[in-house]
Point group: C2
């Protein structure tokens, strides 16, 4: 994966508004929101997926930047007072704390529009790349809407319905992983069979990640035993999906391993 991070950071730098570009506060706040040197899990999955279908990491540079822009807009909006009301993220003031609430709404909106503008720059299969981002861009919002409901139920006495939790995990957590993998697959010139395998890989990676998170937190809506079983099954399904890809899956496997600790 040498050079992957450099591709992600340099592409983000290329596509974000230049410092001082009008309106200067919007340009500055968009760059602040995206930051530098985060984990960049989704764009790394995107680049590695292009390689896993026989393409080059470089083929997916714009889709990779696009998924990171979209992910970051969701964080900017999630932090808003009307949502999670968070004042800090990654040890720094959240966008709304630093630039005001109206600007934070607008920064998120601009990041989302920019994400699609950048996705459309994919040299291969641009329409499919954009469609994957659009589908999961709607999905992640649906997951967030149900998650707000989940929090309301969780604060009451009734047990959480499992299908509600399933919906939230699939959409809030896994959807952007799926978009990242599918976009990378299309940008790398993958077949529909490749895309289906990438989709299965990313869905199960996302779910496994979420179950492991619950285990680490010692707090799972499915109970510890079922959660362990689910984490194991999802990890196995992700690994199996990798086996169906015809290109070099070393990088995808490495990302999965890092994300899931030593369990994969």
């Amino acid at each position: 994966m040498d050079g992957y991070r450099e591709i992600v950071e340099s592409t983000l730098d290329e596509v974000l508004p230049k410092a001082g570009e009008r309106p200067a506060e919007l340009s500055e706040a968009m760059r602040y929101a995206v930051g530098t040197g985060g984990k960049r899990i989704r764009p790394l999955i995107c680049l590695a997926s292009a390689v896993a279908v026989g393409g080059k990491a470089e083929d997916a540079r714009y889709p990779a930047a696009a998924i990171e822009l979209l992910h970051n807009y969701t964080l900017v909006h999630d932090d808003l007072p009307a949502m999670d009301n968070d004042t800090e993220r990654r040890g720094k003031p959240t966008v709304w704390t630093k630039y005001g609430e109206a600007n934070a709404i607008l920064v998120g909106d601009a990041l989302q529009a920019l994400a699609f503008l950048v996705a459309a720059k994919s040299r291969r299969n641009a329409a499919s790349v954009v469609a994957a981002l659009g589908e999961k861009g709607v999905g992640v919002v649906a997951g967030q809407v149900e998650d707000i409901k989940r929090e309301t139920v969780a604060s009451g006495l009734a047990p959480l319905p499992k299908d509600l939790v399933d919906f939230v995990y699939e959409h809030k957590t896994a959807d952007l992983f799926i978009a990242a993998a599918v976009m990378g697959g299309y940008a790398g010139g993958g077949s529909e069979t490749d895309i289906a395998a990438l989709r299965r890989f990313a869905l199960n990676l996302g779910l496994a990640f979420q179950y492991e998170d619950d285990i680490l937190d010692g707090d799972s809506p499915f109970g510890p035993e079922e959660t362990e079983g689910r984490a194991k099954d999802a990890t196995a399904a992700a690994i199996a999906a990798l086996g169906e890809l015809k290109g070099d899956t070393t990088a995808l496997a490495e990302i999965a391993k890092r994300l899931l600790g030593r369990k994969s």
Copy 2:
């Protein structure tokens, strides 16, 4: 333009989540936000632009729905308490008043993602259609950021800098007109010369519309005389741009006439 409205309404109905689709409140609120039977100026411009480059209105059905979805997300977010704090729109409660602030942020976000998913369905030049929407989707937010600044300046004693007003008019008002026309032009199979003419038409239509609005309100940052002159020039420039298109521009001219009263 017979049948244009039917294309717009039926396509919006096709692409919006079905009633009851999970999460049901998101599906319902997205439909509520888009409504039915509004003026649909931007989608009509989009369909008419496809015809003006020699294509069919039907060619631009998805781009037309996309621009209306994007326009409506901007309204949902503009109405938020942190923005204009409006409780009514088109005589009905605004989305945040009816569904709560968090949901209104999310409804707007989902409408924007859906707009791009739908734009990518264009059978011709999908990547260019999406890029036009993405570029102006960023632009309209930039216009809004500067407009908030304009309101702050206007509430003080200093006169409004003309270039600030120009920026707001071009981006907040004209950008989505431009996106509509350019997307329609690409979907209709227009050449880059056609696209350039459509861009000039829509920019000047948007500006003329804004100047006429200022005249009707009796309140223009440029003063009555300059505003009259600007409205006249912009209208003439829009009409001149129409003359450069090779297809049937009757519908575009009719839309311009309606929008600008009897002045065009």
